[in-house]
Symmetry: C2
Subunit: 208 residues, 2 copies
């Protein structure tokens, strides 16, 4: 039943895990991170206690600190692994897309799938729990985000060079960031609109 997209996502994930860049989601630590993403997204970082997190993975609250030094480190790990994973997914998607329109659409679909799919909760954490991250954590995540954003800007600039869009790529990207991340609050894949249709509608925002 796995779609082509899901297969590639699995491959990208496996490659990152074996390279040691992100935690294996099947490990104890990996499950902890998944639960953390879920709780942080739905209750917020501050409202989620280490006791909540511990009981949702079925261990004692103190045992968490065998895997992480602090609660803040958990938040940082969720964000870091999410951005690394999604950057890799985008790179993979771009390698099969040609022409500015297709490449932009590929990025949009990629980001929407991240937001809506398996890592959607973690993506939400990345966007909405920014303030809760410590200063040092913020600096590290920012570097990773710059890489991610640069990929977007390059494609938007390419689209502009071909006259597909009139506006400033920076402004376009920022409008898109807001519009796409907000979809998590209202879009349901089971509804009348498919994710591909949503991606096309989003593409129409920036192309004339």
């Amino acid at each position: 039943m796995a779609s082509h997209d899901e297969q590639q996502a699995q491959q990208v994930l496996h490659a990152l895990v074996s390279r040691g860049e992100i935690t294996d989601p099947h490990s104890a630590k990996g499950k902890l991170l998944q639960c953390a993403a879920h709780l942080f997204r739905h209750k917020g970082y501050e409202r989620t206690t280490v006791r909540d997190l511990a009981s949702s993975v079925g261990i004692q609250s103190g045992s968490i600190f065998h895997h992480f030094k602090s609660k803040d480190e958990i938040l940082k790990a969720v964000m870091e692994e999410t951005i690394l994973y999604n950057t890799a997914l985008m790179r993979e998607a771009l390698s099969h897309a040609h022409g500015p329109r297709e490449r932009l659409l590929a990025l949009i679909r990629c980001e929407l799938q991240s937001i809506m799919g398996g890592t959607g909760e973690a993506m939400g954490v990345l966007v909405y729990e920014w303030r809760s991250l410590s200063d040092s954590g913020r600096a590290d995540i920012l570097k990773l985000r710059d890489v991610y954003e640069q990929m977007w800007l390059a494609e938007l600039q390419a689209a502009r060079d071909e006259g597909l869009t009139p506006s400033d790529p920076f402004v376009q990207r920022r409008f898109l960031t807001g519009a796409l991340s907000w979809t998590t609050t209202w879009f349901k894949a089971e509804g009348s609109m498919s994710l591909d249709e949503l991606a096309e509608a989003a593409l129409a925002l920036v192309l004339k």
Copy 2:
């Protein structure tokens, strides 16, 4: 130095205050609400303690509970007054705008001014602190939000009826909600782009 927009905002504010619908910002309670909006926006509701709030208005922490029954009631009040104020501002703006394009632009400028201007912090609270509100509070605010959103949908539908935009008004509004609210994280009025230019760029997202 007050612009025409600011004058009308003052008039709308005064009308609401004298009708008792929102708290006078010059009163002790009003200042408390303003400080709360500021702190909630920048530190988040959970991270803001009643002691933080009290010291930022120069009173003891316990004294807050003379004005509000609970911390949650403060959050609710910030949201309620903000949405009431901005609904009134939009109604006022629409009363001077004619034709679908101008009316849509008026709404966009209105929302951007709310986000960027004096009540910007409170608007941010309304968007990003939703989860922290109690269930009963959420239900009350939702009713007020429906009124606000209905105004948007009516104008987007009117634009569609005239063939100005191809897509579903619901989807358009949701894209706009995300794109506009996100501007608070990156747009600076002192930068190279004016707020009016930003509004035009946002309008271009939904009009073809």
